[in-house]
């Protein structure tokens, strides 16, 4: 006999699918929702529901946006000659927190990882080629994580971008090996920017 009502089971199962949430935490969250004031739960449900309809990838850089262009791309004060290539949207936030970079971004949507079946075709490289084709960008800063996949992706990009008259740099020093950009503090990210090297 199952003691836990099906609805709570269902909700915990959904929570458990989220990154960083184990089965125990998932169950606690589900029980919490049941005990919480109805308004709180409604707000949570609304927020989740609104996410799908309202947020979409920016049509230029693939960062999160509520309009066709994201807040970075539509900001006229950003320097369009500098383009920073990152793995995912959260990395944009980490770099923005450091306040070190004033250019535009390009979100790859992942890194090369043959184990997971991710090759160049699974990344937003065609969009990147199109943007660079316009001729405005002078420097491409590759800010993939300094792990094996991030380094290999940086290497791949450097090869692909070679011979186009672009300066290609790579974030380097300061980031601990195997580190995740998202979890690095502002100082570390700022230093990594200052110490970027040519590829």
């Amino acid at each position: 006999m199952n003691l836990i009502p099906v609805a709570i089971e269902r909700l915990s199962a959904e929570y458990a699918r989220l990154p960083g949430i184990g089965p125990k935490t998932a169950q606690r969250l589900a029980f919490h929702c049941m005990a919480a004031p109805p308004d709180d739960v409604t707000r949570l449900a609304d927020a989740l529901y609104a996410l799908r309809g309202v947020v979409r990838p920016c049509s230029q850089c693939l960062f999160l946006s509520e309009a066709d262009l994201c807040a970075v791309c539509s900001n006229p004060r950003r320097d369009p000659t500098q383009l920073c290539v990152v793995e995912e949207a959260l990395d944009v936030l980490a770099i923005e927190r450091s306040g070190e970079f004033g250019g535009l971004y390009h979100v790859l949507g992942g890194v090369l990882s043959p184990i997971d079946g991710i090759g160049p075709n699974q990344l937003s490289l065609d969009q990147l080629d199109n943007r660079l084709g316009a001729g405005t960008v002078v420097e491409v800063v590759i800010a993939t994580d300094p792990d094996v996949e991030g380094e290999a992706t940086a290497h791949y990009l450097a090869d692909r971008l070679a011979g186009r008259g672009l300066t290609v740099t790579r974030l380097a020093h300061g980031l601990p090996a195997g580190a995740d950009l998202q979890y690095a503090d502002e100082v570390t990210v700022a230093r990594a920017f200052q110490g970027r090297r040519s590829l």
């Binding site: 184990g22 990882s113 043959p114 184990i115 792990d147 290999a152 992706t153 290497h155 791949y156």
Partner: protein, 382 residues
């Protein structure tokens, strides 16, 4: 003497232990008990905690007590610079079907790799008695376990190399089957070559250091120490770290990759790199695996283990804990005495299991703590 030692150890739902705590003494700790009671499991728990993963289990899921989906090993470690509390926990995630691992140092969550080196260990399992004779895997593992505990950078390079190797193999299987991207292969190879070269140099240097300590250890065991030779063999040729450096190792790997690329792609595996390297053990210039007698081979293995202890003592800021599973009974009286004398003299903590603890009673000059292991419980015996 800055000996690191485990003062107490807790096993929770680990192998055949439900929840057991044991307090060890300094010096020699002897675990006796009938077969299949959990002696080896206890030593495995120590190794799992100090190395952040079991050196014996094929999968971390094997560590869970049957029917359980989580296990925990904790230890209170004495070090001259202050005590440390270590913990490692494995949990089975039913949703993803993965075994998750989390570690704590002094009660704070830390990356699992930070467990290594706090309480360095030298492991000696019965299988290791065949270290000279058996395939290269055990010899590579010996080097990697020492490096990972002594040098966080070497550990990071090993990790990077393994990951690059996995990615490269996956890509080569795709290429073999008509998919994959050749330019992506080149990108992963850059990582593979760089990490591989650094692993090679670090291992080759360690081999030299170990030889330095193994020679006197072998003499002490009554063997012909001066006749002992150890070479790091990379890609079929001896790699000498006094003349070769990372750049040289890099270009060597890269040249051999070029030469064997077609064969690698056809087979879908990596045939070149430090995962195929070896340590050549020589006695009077001849391969010890064929030229040395069984007794000589055992002495060499023992000398290598003592060399690990000596090298860690000389390099790290603490002495290691020596873990001997069932090994003493496999050694003749002379070698056993010689091993225990060395250990006693160095003052390091030793955790040893044996089916005949009585044989160790009355061993002169050493403080000995006896324990009885019985069906997943352990208690001190007087």
């Amino acid at each position: 003497m800055n000996a690191c030692r485990i003062e107490s150890l807790r096993l929770y739902e680990f192998r055949n232990y439900a929840d057991t705590t044991v307090e060890f003494g300094p010096g020699l700790n002897v675990m006796g008990g009938r077969n299949a009671q959990g002696k080896t499991n206890l030593l495995e728990a120590v190794a799992t905690l100090t190395l952040s993963r079991s050196p014996r289990a094929a999968s971390s899921a094997d560590l869970f007590r049957w029917g359980s989906t989580a296990c925990l090993v904790e230890a209170h470690v004495h070090r001259l610079d202050g005590p440390a509390d270590l913990g490692v926990r494995f949990t089975y995630d039913t949703a993803t079907r993965h075994v998750g691992r989390s570690a704590t140092v002094n009660g704070k969550p830390r990356p699992a790799r930070s467990l290594l080196g706090i309480c360095p260990v030298v492991l000696f399992w019965p299988d290791d008695l065949l270290l000279v004779k058996a395939g290269p895997e055990g010899r590579r593992r010996l080097l990697d376990v020492v490096l990972s505990q002594l040098d966080p950078r070497a550990m990071a390079e090993l990790h990077r190399y393994r990951r690059a190797l996995e990615q490269r193999n996956a890509l080569m299987r795709q290429l073999r089957d008509g998919g994959g991207s050749l330019s992506a292969l080149a990108s992963f190879e850059a990582e593979f070559i760089d990490a591989g070269a650094r692993v090679r140099v670090a291992r080759a240097r360690l081999v030299q250091d170990l030889l330095h300590w193994a020679v006197p250890a072998l003499v002490q065991l009554g063997g012909d120490g001066e006749a002992l030779g150890l070479n790091y063999v990379a890609g079929g040729a001896v790699f000498d770290p006094t003349t070769g450096d990372v750049d040289q190792a890099r270009s060597a790997i890269s040249t051999r990759l070029q030469a064997r690329r077609a064969e690698e792609v056809a087979r879908g595996i990596s045939l070149v790199g430090p995962h195929r390297d070896d340590v050549e053990v020589l006695l009077a210039g001849r391969p010890a695996r064929t030229a040395a007698s069984q007794g000589q081979q055992r002495s060499i293995v023992l000398a290598l283990k003592l060399a690990e202890v000596a090298h860690i003592r000389a390099t790290a800021d603490v002495s290691p804990v020596l873990i001997l599973d069932d090994v003493l009974s496999e050694l003749d009286e002379t070698r056993r005495q010689s091993l225990l004398a060395t250990v006693a003299e160095s003052g390091i903590q030793v955790l040893v299991t044996t089916a005949e603890p009585a044989a160790l009673h009355g061993l002169g000059g050493t403080e000995i703590h006896f324990f009885e292991v019985d069906a997943g419980s352990i208690r001190p015996v007087r």
